[in-house]
Amino acid sequence: MMKGKSLNDYTEDIYTCNRTRCGFCREQCPVYHVKVYETYSCRGKMLVGRGLIEKTLSPSVEITQILDRCLLCGLCEARCALNNLDIITSMRREMVHRGCPTPVHKGNVERILEEGRLLDARAAPERDGQFTLYVGCVYRSKPRELATALSVLERLDIHPLIADETCCGYIVEATGFDKEFEMIQGQFKKTYQQMGAPEILTLCPTCTATLKEKYGLPVKHAIVAVAEQLRKKQQAVKPLGFRATYHDPCHLGRMLGVFDEPREILRHLGIQLVEMENYRYFSTCCGGGGGVNAVDPDLSIEIAKNRARDAIGVGVEIITTVCPTCEPTLLRAAGRLAGEVGTFVDVQGLWDLLDKALD
């Protein structure tokens, strides 16, 4: 895979944004929406990029802190012809190269390099099976959620083969540690590229996007396989019969284009789907993306509260989603928001709903 370009390589793109200033990216940026300073929007960051290129700004911890508060959710890019995520990631790399890394991210990178994982593995799901499944660090740290997902897959005759895996390195690349990411890629390739599986199933949307885009592997999110299987088997379910909205995880939806299968499953389970105002390509982030939760949990919660407000705004009491980051982030925020507005919107994972309906 191609190594990331430097900030200077994006000079003309950045100048194009500065010349255009359409602002299409700004208003819906979940971070800008909370912070209000232009600097947190993509358009504002493009002027910071200009400052770094023209040397009117010097690399600093403060710039790192502003860049750290980007969710890398891609909503700005959905309204723009420029590759904003690549440009922002190049700015993060610039900060790391020039001696201004974020300590918490640096610690995570060191841990991944040392232990092969971002989080403590509390589950040991290795097993033989028919379909290669990459579990990812987050699910390995959540034994109950992982057991539920695996149980659903088994009940639908999708028998996973799970190897002893290492972290895909998304957070390392996304936070600007490109040299370290190369090393992690080396570790990862030892396991997966040598397996030569015709298709790798995944559970985490972020890992799915990383395996596809950074490793060029043939991946399929397991929820797509579930939708196919439900369709093929004409699977009978116990209808759940409530109204809910579906939150599109950024990586699964906007970046991988998986919009229809989760909705198809919800309908199959007898759920009346009510869409929020911003959905599919233009869904807003849960607040947990891009490493923001690690550096500014309060910001993350404020963003997630806004997403919960979107759900309340269309009159539903349940948000469903299919991402191990979105689900807890939205649930925490929903609890906080309930204390403020007196309305609680519950968050339920799609795997849990499948578990109930297939019971």
Partner: protein
Amino acid sequence: MNMGKIDKAFAELQDIVGDRATTSPIHRMAYSRDWSPRYRGMNDLPDIIVIPNDTQEVVRITKVAHRYEIPLVAFAGGTGMGGGAVAWKGGIMIETKGLNRILEVDQQNMTVTVQSGIIIDVLNNELARHKLWLPHQPESKRACTIGASIGCDNDSTFGLRYGKISDCLLNAVIVTGRAEAVRVGPRKVSFSSTGYKLLDLLVASEGTLGTITEATLRVVPIPEAREVRGYLCRCLNDTAKGIERLLGSGLAIESAHANCRNRLHFYTHSYREKYGREPQLPEWAAAILFLSFAGDEDIVAFTVDKATQIMTDELNAQLVREQELVEGWWDSKHRLEFIPFKQKWPDSQRQKKFGAADLGLPIGRLEEGYRRYLEIAEKCDQEILGMTIYNESPNKATASVSFAVFVDDSSQDKVHQFYQYVREMSEMAIELDGTMSTYIGDGDRLGGFNQLEHGPGLKYMRRIKRIFDPKNIMNTGKKFQSRWIEDHKGVT
């Protein structure tokens, strides 16, 4: 800027708004530009940025600026084309988008009261829940605020039926340069013959009298149906004649825009992307007139048929048969709907940027204006982007004209050449009995030079400015001073 004063002012501002004030050079850099042409390395950083949440905070901020005599610049969408929101004299920048609440939707009286920093698109999304909309619709509506629309008197797509922001505006709250909050204009009616029309003074004031913090606007029901059609015309003057004839017949037209052939190219990116072909126009077509019709479905259908009959029979125009082209134009003009991940709109500004002289011309002098535009652009070495005629006064043909060029912003000299183009175009507009600006405003371009248009009237404008802003802190360096057109010999 005297940093001692800035430091003291900043300390006081922090007492007012806490961490919603900053002197960080990184944040200041993000506020260093609007959409006006600037050359590389030309960054105008404010000294302080502050984000107020209500009128009282703006009053307190203005008191600080007044006490230390520091310029106060309002920043909104940042899409202005005249440098109006650029703090080239430094000072305190008020980020108005913290003033983003809807205060009241009064369905019975068809009004909405908002804080001035609300984005037009956001407001309309909310109004849509009540089946209402604000018909003031600049192309920048995804970024532009209500306050900026009032302050800049910007363009509106639906001006032919609904006019500009002043036609919707009932009243507004301004925090003057004296740090006093004043509500001006009637409450919930559209007119008043008592007192002076202070509300009118706010429109196009560009923040030089005060900061607008609230506004009440007349809104209208969302029409049931809308149709858009394009007509190929043999000359530019025919577009105005056609509009006048259609209105004279009793038909209601919602919007009217005429593009020269060059400008059509700019507006049809999404068409070309979607269909992979260039718009095909016959050689004889000098302009294309786009009309939109809105209302009840049957009335719209009748109006489209009748308008087409008049345009073809009486104006010898031709209906554009390829409706995809018309819809593609409307996508770029109004819906702003591009195919996610594939739209290429900003690419038009990859090498050079969009820049325009925004002139008002008498409707019978469009041909002459267009010919002079081509000559002046060539003389000033500006690459032609094309011309659009906006109709922005209710129920009559008018000509608010964007004479656009691609600006080479790679060097100071090249950008100065663009402003020389603006100067000569402005002189041409006055010569033709028009105006030098219809939607961009004076900004940092035309101040002082605009005496060519206003004559002794400019002196009275300065006096008005002093009444509102005796210490000249409100958007200092705008409207009465130009940083681009300095040599006013024979003008001032």
